[in-house]
């Protein structure tokens, strides 16, 4: 499978948890390179570097409690940044209170909330669906993603949006 320029970013301060997330997303890694960060500051650096290289960030999975700036603030920043505005944003957390969750929803347009502990199937499915959304919305040629993402929805989008036509 050809590697795309769409990245997945995982931000989590506990190494074991971070490893588990990356392991669960293994199936997608061939096409969507996974980058990791253990704090919001490190995440901002990684994002800055990727954007500089003209890469795109398709999906961010972010823990709520991080050293320094917390996950919610980071997601809000990403939402405000034009280049990561369309990035699909997932909060992966065990402790977020109602206030923080509402804040993430309202101010960062959070796409999904995954409560710890999660199952591998759940995490993978959420990632596939959100990346499918991202690809349909952002990519001109969606065919390379048919075999790894939701083929049904991608075909449906070819049917309705006519992104591929007879030649």
């Amino acid at each position: 499978m050809k590697t795309s320029d769409i990245y997945i970013l995982c931000i989590e301060d506990e190494h074991e948890v971070l490893d588990a997330v990356v392991r669960d997303l293994e199936k997608l890694e061939d096409q969507f390179p996974v980058e990791t960060a253990t704090s919001a500051e490190e995440a901002s650096e990684v994002i800055g570097k990727l954007l500089e290289e003209n890469k795109k960030i398709g999906l961010v999975l972010c823990d709520h409690i991080l050293p320094g700036e917390n996950g919610i603030e980071l997601l809000i920043e990403l939402h405000k940044n034009e280049k990561t505005h369309n990035t699909r944003k997932v909060l992966l957390t065990g402790q977020a209170g109602l206030d923080d969750t509402v804040k993430a929803l309202n101010q960062a347009r959070l796409h999904h909330y995954i409560a710890k502990p999660w199952s591998k199937e759940e995490l993978l499915e959420v990632a596939v669906e959100l990346l499918t959304d991202y690809v349909i919305e952002q990519e001109e040629n969606i065919l390379p993603y048919m075999s790894s993402l939701n083929a049904n929805r991608l075909s449906e989008s070819i049917r309705t949006r006519r992104s591929v036509s007879d030649g």
Binding site: L143, P144, M146, S147, S148, A151, N152, S155, E156, I158, R159, T160, R161, R162, V164, S165, D166, G167
Partner: protein
């Protein structure tokens, strides 16, 4: 070392450079037998062919560029031909059929050119009596004092009467393009109101739950839909129908290869059936119409449907043989109901009337392109399609076809097509060999290039082969045109051959070699079948 323009691969970059060189090369070569306009047209042809092959720019962009170059370089109003006048001089009468003419008028083979009518010239043989500096005294019995002798035989207006730029721009409103526009708008509305899905569900119902008949059903429905809708949209829709079936099969089951391959194969073949089925049909019909032969919607179906049906049944048999069903029966999961909102019902009515009028063209005689404006106007009048829907139409396909038609007009008008034909010795080819050659060449080209582009590049040759009369009475223009259209659509050995192939391949359900195996067998059988129809069947239905 890899050299490339920004945003292009090195192959595309090479294509870009080659194409630009191709545009100018004919003007630098000594092509005496070709008029200046023919040379300009050859340059445009080279550039277009190279751009279409290497795709440094999208294929529809090349089509638009062709039209731009034609209106600039070839049209009567373009900078090259506006204000252009043939340099002529009256011959001065001496005695005894002796004339004095400017010495520049004499060509190497001792002939001169005289203007007969605008754009029409005649070559006259003369006998040189005496050369006298700027003038020559010649003897000729053909020359009269009414003749205008062309003083510069190499002038750009010799053998060429430029046509108006509106002829090239007007290709976008060519009747066949309007026919496609009608088809596109019907398809757009069908997708919007899910008519395509609901029809599929309804039509698949009678095929039961036995795998072999479900495959047959899938292929027939795909073919019927792709005869009226775009092959690509049909294939994308049908992929959503087969994915749930494939999910019911064991992971290693080879039957799923067959299932997934059945869709692009049927979509490619189905497109042959009607004039609006796929763009190459339009290129062929437009070229024939330009030449004065009209083929009705009904005629086209009568000519192609028997071949389509045989190809479908053969492909079905082949798929089941190579990838036999592993389960006794399975469930087709399709949900939905026909929408009964007033707008949806309006669509059903307009769709029904339009298709009925199209297929019965021979009994009422209303041209299909005129009928096509019924859905165009009615769908927007009824608010069934709105402004945003119209914006979503595949306009680039219309431009692709318009550029192709325009290229053909230019090649014909400038005498380029006839010149290209005369460069080859065709008479040594028999009619059968010619048919084989055309179908094989079209199929090979179309496996690698866009089907529309292949038809565009080959049709001018077919037309001028007919005009030149080299092949004699046996040559049938309509049959040869149909062969091009059919062969272009039957090329499906590679993922890049057609968009439906690309979509099916991208699902990752089967391997490239499975597609290649099916495609090559279908291609070979297809050429044989084309030959058989061209000899035994088409002469009966085409007169």
């Amino acid at each position: 070392m890899k050299v490339a323009f920004p945003g292009l691969t090195s192959i595309q970059s090479a294509g870009l450079i080659l194409g630009v060189i191709g545009l100018f090369v004919p003007l630098l070569l000594p092509l005496d037998s070709l008029s200046v306009a023919g040379q300009l047209s050859l340059g445009i042809f080279f550039m277009a062919a190279i751009f279409w092959m290497f795709e440094p720019i999208p294929i529809f962009a090349t089509s638009m560029l062709v039209i731009l170059l034609q209106i600039v370089l070839l049209s009567a109003q373009g900078p090259v031909y506006t204000n252009a006048e043939l340099p002529v001089d009256k011959p001065v009468t001496l005695e005894d059929h002796n004339w004095q003419i400017p010495s520049s008028a004499i060509r190497d083979d001792e002939t001169i050119i005289v203007a007969v009518a605008p754009g029409e010239t005649e070559s006259i043989e003369v006998e040189i009596i005496d050369r006298n500096g700027k003038h020559v005294i010649v003897r000729s019995t053909e020359l009269t004092s009414d003749h205008a002798v062309i003083t510069r035989p190499e002038h750009r207006l010799v053998n060429y009467k430029p046509n108006s730029y509106t002829d090239y721009l007007g290709t976008l409103a060519n009747p066949i393009i309007i026919l496609f526009l009608g088809g596109f708008m019907l398809a757009e509305a069908s997708v919007k109101y899910n008519l395509d899905k609901n029809l599929t569900r309804y039509l698949l119902h009678p095929f039961g739950s036995q795998p072999r008949f479900i495959v047959l059903g899938l292929m027939l429905v795909t073919a019927v839909l792709s005869a009226f809708m775009s092959n690509t949209a049909t294939a994308a829709m049908m992929i959503t129908v087969i994915l749930p079936i494939i999910a019911q099969l064991e992971p290693g089951d080879r039957f799923k290869y067959g299932l997934a391959l059945s869709i692009p194969i049927a979509a490619n073949i189905g497109g042959i059936t009607t004039p609006i089925g796929t763009p190459p049909n339009a290129i062929v019909i437009a070229a024939l119409t330009e030449y004065g032969i009209s083929i009705s919607f009904t005629d086209w179906i009568i000519i192609t449907a028997p071949l389509v049906l045989v190809m479908l049944l053969f492909s079905w048999w082949l798929l089941l043989t190579l990838f036999p069903p592993s389960v006794k029966r399975f469930q087709l999961i399709m949900e939905g109901t026909f929408s009964l909102s007033p707008k949806a019902v309006g669509l059903y009515v307009i769709f029904g009337i339009t298709v009925l009028l199209w297929v019965t063209e021979n009994s009422h005689g209303i041209p299909s392109s005129m009928v096509a404006f019924l859905p165009v106007a009615a769908l927007v009048t009824g608010g069934i399609l709105n402004k945003n829907d119209i914006r979503k139409l595949p306009w680039e396909v219309l431009w692709l076809m318009a550029g192709g038609i325009s290229l053909g007009i230019g090649m014909d008008k400038t005498g380029l097509a006839v010149w290209m034909i005369s460069a080859m010795d065709w008479s040594s080819l028999g009619y059968i060999a010619l048919i084989l050659a055309f179908s094989a060449v079209a199929m090979i080209m179309s496996n690698f290039l866009s089907n529309t582009v292949t038809a565009t590049l080959l049709m001018p040759l077919v037309i001028s082969l007919h005009v030149s009369g080299i092949m004699g009475d046996q040559f049938n223009l309509v049959i040869t045109g149909v062969i091009i259209a059919v062969a272009c659509s039957l090329a499906m050995a590679l993922p890049i051959s057609t968009p439906p192939n690309a979509i099916a391949m991208s699902t990752g359900i089967f391997r490239t070699k499975d597609m290649a195996k099916m495609g090559i067998i279908i291609g070979i059988v297809g050429v044989m079948l084309i030959l058989a129809y061209a000899i035994f069947f088409w002469p009966l239905v085409i007169n």
